[in-house]
Amino acid sequence: MSENDNNQKEALFSPKNKKLLTNPLGKDNPINVQVLGICSVLAITVQLRASIVMAISVVAVMGLANVIISLLRKTIPPRIRIIVQLTVIASLVILVDQVLKAFVYDVSRQLSVFVGLIITNCIIMGRLEAFALQNKPWPSFLDGIGNAAGYAWVLLAVGFFRELFGSGTLMGYNVIPGFMYEMGYEDNGFMILPPMALITVGIIIWVHRYKDRDLIDIS
């Protein structure tokens, strides 16, 4: 991923750029393949709604952070680059939190501490360090959005199954019909505890590898 410094114009969505966006959804998925950001997946996927808002917030923070670091990349002193990255991420997260509090107060009430947790999401810093520091703003933006989306779909999938089987609801609405309970069906309380999130992620990784044989490490 070396910098493309020659002056020829590259199309905004050239095949190479498209790859930046789509690869993290599958082959380079930050959670399934790189196993990053697991902590937040365990913490906030009890209910689908929180997962959705978290996903949107991460997309916003990650896209912006990648662009900002990419714009600054030639000025950042290498010795303090981690501190600079962290400052940028933390400021963006605080801004997102303030904006949510002012304009979508209910959503911000629901997310409470989770917004702050975005700072600790290692995927964001991983992408700043691995990509934005060496690349131009536009590819960095695509890379940020792509990785955030790759994180988001796994988050939503885990949130979906945990809420469905753990509480029998989706987005807070009952979806398991009453007669199922009368026939003896019970919500699985274990699903709302963090260990089941890990197992759910494990199952998703399993299915993912089954579908995409390239990911299987044969050695």
Binding site: V46, P77, P78, F103, S112, E163, G166, L193
Partner: protein
């Protein structure tokens, strides 16, 4: 890159970030504070079962809650605006110095008393409002909220299915002794007017609610007794 550059870079970065963040905080503060006021009104209304959207909250609050007052631990009235009292600050003071807000509603001729309570759950603060009927013994409704309890577990205290259990429960027993509502792990007996079901997996939060109700309502005891005797 020289050390000088690094120092300048870091200093400039800190100054810029500080300006941007404090600017954003200052600009957004009035909107955020309005949201919080509305939410507080909404929660107080919810404690006597008046559903209100955020936008209606102010109008409905002013319509029903015609009297608000501050009392002390002996039940004597104090000067001040009850709505502005922060329970978090008051709970740090010794009981004798606390200002205790009471919101009194008149709903179609019937009087309701709403008092705030505050305590701690597993991860952080929990708080809420308890609405009492005119006999200051029967709970008309309760509304709870939390800072950071676990979603799906402790956080369920702010869910309707938990809050609705409090309706009709008593905080004084038949001999007029103070006996607040307990949250019981594994389920409360059906006929116990002083207990509600706890939340599976949320035991520490449930215990927090029990403590919060005991501590929070006990300080109002003299005031309630004054109302009863008048």
């Amino acid at each position: 890159m020289t050390n000088r550059y690094i120092f300048l870079y870091a200093s400039a970065m800190v100054v810029i970030v500080a300006l941007v963040l404090s600017g954003a905080a200052t600009l957004l503060r009035p909107i955020q504070e309005r949201n919080m006021r509305m939410e507080k009104m909404q929660n107080i209304l919810a404690a006597i079962d008046i559903p209100a959207s955020r936008d209606e909250a102010e109008e409905l609050f002013n319509q029903y809650f015609t009297v608000t007052k501050i009392v002390d631990h002996r039940g004597e009235e104090l000067e001040g605006d009850a709505f502005e009292v922060e329970l978090q600050e008051e709970n740090r003071k010794p009981v004798e110095e606390r200002q205790l807000p009471v919101f009194i509603a008149d709903v179609d001729g019937e009087t309701f008393y709403v008092v705030p309570v505050r305590g701690s759950g597993l991860w952080g603060a929990i708080w809420g409002y308890v609405g009492l009927e005119s006999d200051v013994k029967t709970i008309a409704g309760a509304n709870f909220d939390h800072a950071s309890e676990t979603p799906g577990l402790g956080a369920e205290i702010s869910g309707e299915s938990f809050e609705n259990q409090f309706r009709g429960k008593k905080i004084f027993d038949e001999d007029s002794n103070f006996r607040p509502v307990r949250v019981v792990k594994g389920g409360a007996p059906d006929d116990d007017p002083h207990a509600v079901d706890g939340i599976s997996g949320g035991t520490i939060t449930s215990d927090g609610v029990t403590d919060m109700l005991r501590n929070g309502l006990e300080v109002y005891k003299p005031y309630f007794e004054k109302i009863k005797s008048s």
